[in-house]
């Protein structure tokens, strides 16, 4: 549990972060989104005391972070940055084992943990363990960065635009893997990004920042349905907002049971999103899809009218 209440940071007279309050419950994924210079990275760095906050309280598991020794605090918080920050003179294995060694784990424990993490992140130990960072591709290096952050099994993970420097395909792949990892590990994550799609895809809780202040926060769906001002709306993609919202809703949550009519030709797995369903309708020139389960067995159907009605219903719900 991370709690920020009325936190500010001033550099000289300028406020980089201005009176923000925010709660990240244990095991939740919180994304800070905003344009460059909006104070989102500063907010992140205040949590592990890379930057000391000027005012307000930051509370970690019920205790103000000022009460922790900064070095010990940082050892129990994982941290991932955009350009990985891997030590170029250390092998991959040694980089990953850094924090456990700092915590004076025994050599065999460290070795075991490194192997475990490399396996978890899909980096075969035999192939990558002895490589140096400059021998890795961008995606591989960032996996090592994530593994290093997870090494001492911290409860909290701070990620500062971790996928910002990667090409779109690698980025998407790593996003998927991170989502899977989070579903397994349930870390409390604070994730900084300027890519709204990334945030919508990964976050449980979305915080939009501008000029050091929080403009709006809430669940991704709530923000999409009800942006508080034009800035948030433009961040959420303006006209594309409807599609983004559809991307967050799964087909199987909105399908209807099979009707008396003949099943539609096009089939869509229930775990796909409404956005993918819409795309499929456009592609196949139809207004009905058959929903199938993982064994490709029909379990229901989804019509265009249904999708549009659902969107209206959701809007109506949130307004109440």
């Amino acid at each position: 549990m991370i709690e920020l209440s009325h936190v500010s940071k001033r550099f000289g007279d300028e406020a980089a972060v201005d009176d923000i309050s925010l709660q990240v419950p244990k095991g939740k994924f919180c994304a800070l989104v905003g344009t460059s210079g909006c104070g989102k990275s500063t907010t992140l760095r205040m949590i592990n005391r890379l930057i000391e906050h000027s005012e307000g309280d930051i509370i970690l598991d019920g205790q103000a972070i000022d009460a922790y020794d900064p070095v010990k605090l940082r050892r129990r918080i994982g941290y991932v940055i955009q350009h990985t920050g891997l030590f170029p003179h250390w092998t991959v294995a040694r980089n990953i084992g850094l924090v456990p060694r700092l915590l004076k784990w025994s050599a065999t424990d460290v070795q075991y943990r490194v192997a475990e993490l490399m396996h978890l992140l899909g980096l075969p130990v035999d192939e990558f363990g002895h490589k140096y960072p400059h021998q890795l591709s961008g995606g591989q290096a960032q996996r090592v960065g994530v593994a290093r952050a997870l090494a001492a099994d911290p409860d909290i993970l701070l990620m500062d635009e971790p996928f910002g420097a990667l090409d779109p395909i690698t980025r998407e792949k790593l996003q998927d893997e991170l989502a899977k990892l989070q579903a397994r590990l349930h870390k409390t994550v604070v994730f900084v990004t300027h890519d709204m799609d990334e945030a919508l895809k990964l976050a449980d809780h979305l915080v939009v920042m501008r000029k050091g202040q929080i403009v709006q926060q809430g669940s991704p769906l709530a923000l999409l349905q009800n942006p508080s001002d034009p800035f948030v709306e433009s961040m959420l993609g303006g006209l594309e907002r409807g599609l983004k919202q559809a991307a967050l809703t799964r087909v199987k949550d909105h399908m209807t049971s099979m009707g008396p009519t003949l099943p539609a030709q096009s089939r869509i797995p229930g775990v796909f999103s409404l956005r993918q369903a819409l795309s499929m309708m456009l592609r196949d020139h139809c207004d009905r899809l058959t929903v199938v389960d993982q064994h490709d067995m029909p379990v229901g159907e989804l019509s265009l009218r249904r999708i549009i009605k659902e969107a209206q219903l959701d809007n109506g719900n949130t307004r109440e």
Binding site: G85, F87, P88, L102
Partner: protein, 261 residues
């Protein structure tokens, strides 16, 4: 710090071994040969200086002069390395950062101060002999080391330092395990410049009464005996080449540790 660097070295390159030691060994052997059996080359020097009464410098054995030369350069090098690296580290820490602009500015002066002038200014304070030349060499050799230490430490990427910090390394651990190993090649290059230049500069000590390999040169100039000058010059040049090639090997070892990306 050195041991750590060597540790990572042994992992990095088990394959390169023999050929890189070839040059220092060769120059070293030539150097030893020249200081021990210079007299064997008497016919050659006789050809240079046919009229002189004596063509081989014999006032002091060359290897004794070589020892003194090495002593002077060595003392100066040890002191400058310790002081220079320490100063470079100090001003890049947060508590010393007030001094950073000034020290960086001074270090950029590099070798502006002419060694002769520094030597001349040291003599009134320290008297004649070995001390003034050691002091002059220290002053002359200090700035390149400070400059390169600064460049090396500042060249470590901010991302890497931030990451080290965020992983919970103490400032001391960051310095010893991250910053110094990464800056080592640049610092070593500074030390190489400083020491190589000082080997040649130390010969000036002979003008203020410090006995070293500059002796045959001065005595040759004074007596118009080119053979003496050549013997002194040859020995110093061989010494410089030996030390320089040793540094070359050291630098290459550091570089293979991780290719500078």
């Amino acid at each position: 710090m050195e041991t750590r660097v060597n540790n990572s070295l042994s992992v990095a390159q088990p394959h390169t071994k023999a050929p890189q030691w070839l040059w220092p060994l060769m120059w070293g052997a030539l150097l030893l040969g020249s200081v021990t059996v210079m007299s064997a080359a008497e016919p050659l020097f006789r050809w240079i200086e046919p009229d002189a009464r004596q063509v081989i410098y014999e006032r002091t054995e060359l290897y004794v002069l070589l020892g003194r030369h090495l002593f002077v350069v060595g003392i100066a090098a040890v002191v400058t390395i310790i002081v220079g690296v320490a100063a470079g580290i100090a001003v890049t820490r947060r508590w010393g950062s007030d001094f950073l602009p000034l020290v960086a500015q001074l270090a950029s002066l590099g070798q502006t101060f002419p060694p002769v002038a520094v030597l001349a200014l040291a003599v009134p304070v320290l008297g004649f002999g070995t001390l003034p030349i050691i002091v002059a060499l220290m002053l002359y050799g200090l700035l390149p080391i400070v400059r390169n230490t600064l460049a090396g430490l500042q060249g470590v990427e901010d991302d890497i330092k931030t990451a080290a910090h965020a992983m919970g390394m103490t400032p001391r651990q960051i310095l010893r395990q991250v910053e110094l190993p990464l800056a080592a090649p640049v610092i070593l290059a500074g030390i190489r410049t400083s020491v190589t230049i000082n080997i040649a500069t130390a010969a000036l000590g002979a003008t203020v009464g410090a006995s070293n390999l500059g002796d045959p040169i001065i005595s040759g100039i004074v007596n118009g005996n080119m053979a003496y000058v050549a013997q002194g010059a040859l020995t110093i040049a061989l010494l410089a080449l030996t030390i320089d090639s040793l540094f070359e090997v050291l630098q290459r070892q550091l570089r293979t540790c991780f290719s500078a990306s």
